[in-house]
């Protein structure tokens, strides 16, 4: 059974493990999001190429659709950047939570 008590000796490990666990879980979500959205981009790109080759869309339409797809790709990366910031914030919050009782107890007032 894991020792949940925070002490001066294990303080660093407790903080690190809380941050690692929190960020690790969220990192999997970010990875899944990027994989899923990249596959959608690939499907759309294949649709543009095929429609263009079969003359189902004009050259002007193809050019506009490609530019529009670049915007979508940029949006996905921006979203992933934001979700990563959320994950880092959550890791920081988790590490503070695990040591809150110990630090406040030692100091004698609610610092954290």
């Amino acid at each position: 059974m894991a020792n949940d008590t925070v002490t001066s000796d294990n303080l660093g490990d407790k903080i690190f493990n809380a941050a690692k666990t929190s960020f690790g879980d969220n990192y999997k979500l970010i990875q899944h999001f990027l994989e899923h959205e990249s596959e959608k981009l690939a499907i759309t790109l294949r649709m543009i190429i095929q429609a263009s080759a079969e003359n189902q869309i004009t050259g002007a339409e193809a050019k506009i659709l490609l530019t529009q797809q670049k915007i979508a790709a940029s949006a996905i990366l921006t979203s992933a950047e934001g979700i990563t910031a959320v994950a880092v914030q959550a890791a920081i919050d988790a590490s503070v939570k695990v040591i809150r009782g110990f630090v406040n107890g030692k100091i004698g007032f609610p610092l954290l």
Partner: protein, 170 residues
């Protein structure tokens, strides 16, 4: 665990502790804004209205029902929706990513109204001289629908991540 690994671990823990203490001591510091319900609702409404609009265009593809002049209202109303949303997200601190995502949505649906191949929006596709009378082809609309939906969903995904990730978990 060898001495070197242990040393790295301790150093990393010290950094995490320092960042944690600074962030918690200055509770106003945030890496990213908190979840905003109004942004979430506005993005969802924008997605619904745009998707419904493109679905109707697809159903009437290449007929006079899709003439650009008959659908200017949609673009004007979307412009107003986006203006309200831009004001909202621009007023929230630490909201850089969402501000950029809303700008992407504007670029994807409205663009600059160039009506040429140099554009990159649904409106550009619709108001191209060759499409003005009967609208874009069905295939072009289906591809544009995917692009627009993916852009709006990227913004929604971030807003929902803020909701799930930044709420205290007990």
């Amino acid at each position: 665990m060898n001495l070197s690994t242990r040393s790295h671990l301790s150093r990393l823990a010290a950094i995490v502790l320092a960042v944690s203490l600074v962030v918690s001591a200055c509770t106003s510091i945030r890496l990213i804004s908190a979840y905003d319900q109004q942004t979430d609702e506005a993005l969802t409404a924008l997605h619904d209205s745009t998707d419904e609009f493109i679905a109707k265009l697809i159903a009437n593809a290449k007929t006079s029902k899709n003439a650009f002049n008959k659908h200017k209202n949609f673009y004007d109303e979307t412009d107003m929706q986006l203006r309200r949303l831009e004001f909202r997200v621009g007023s929230i601190p630490d909201n850089r990513q969402t501000v950029k995502l809303v700008a992407d949505i504007r670029a994807s649906i409205l663009g600059e109204g160039k009506c040429t191949a140099d554009g990159g929006s649904l409106r550009d596709l619709h108001c191209l001289p060759e499409n003005a009378a009967k609208g874009p082809s069905k295939v072009a609309l289906e591809i544009s629908r995917r692009n627009v939906n993916q852009t709006i969903r990227a913004a929604l995904a971030l807003e929902l991540a803020k909701k799930q990730g930044l709420e205290p978990k007990n």
